[in-house]
Symmetry: C2
Subunit: 116 residues, 2 copies
């Protein structure tokens, strides 16, 4: 699988995204990563393996508690991919904005009429 597909695949799980969010606050051991989730350490280990294969985390082999660390480089590639599409959702937001402005203008006009 290509790198970008592997990254997207690794991100397609709420527990794995929660693990990344935890690691964004600092290194953590597998035990620490298991605590906030109602899943077993082996299940967490399975998720960590997916994240590790995708290059999204690394696990230290030196320290005895073997902390996991966030590696953000693959997310940079995702950001570059997404940036190509920015104009499309900005266009939709612009359309929504001008629609709301039309609604407000109509309301104002209507309000003035009823005030007379």
């Amino acid at each position: 699988m290509d790198q970008l597909s592997t990254t997207f695949s690794a991100l397609a799980d709420p527990t794995r995204r929660a693990i990344l969010a935890r690691l964004a606050q600092g290194e953590a051991s597998v035990a620490e990563l298991s605590q906030p989730f109602s899943i077993s350490p082996p299940a967490v280990t399975k998720h960590l393996k997916v994240l590790q294969k995708a290059g999204l985390i690394t696990q230290s082999r030196q320290a005895q508690w073997r902390p996991c660390k966030l590696e953000a480089a693959p997310l940079h590639e995702v950001a570059d991919f997404i940036a190509q599409y920015r104009q499309f959702w900005e266009q939709s937001l612009d359309r929504l904005d001008s629609y709301l402005q039309t609604l407000q203008a109509q309301e104002k006009k209507h309000g003035k009429k009823s005030a007379k």
Copy 2:
């Protein structure tokens, strides 16, 4: 599956990303979308269903050629998710940058010494 997981899952395939890239240039029929890929129209239809379920495309029911259209709203959610991690890859780039500057400074120093 939650929306963000569904979006990531839909994006975890190079053909589906290529279909989105094509639709970013304008609406296209299934036949038009099949042309650049060495896969059959039924295989393209399968990919389109995944993209449609994820809300990344819509297919018109009115026109006879039933064009597909890019829908960027789910990508906006991905951009918001990724933005949380921007500081991490920027930090790595900064570290790389200062490392390169150190290298250049050492090279300059070394160059001066050999010139003497």
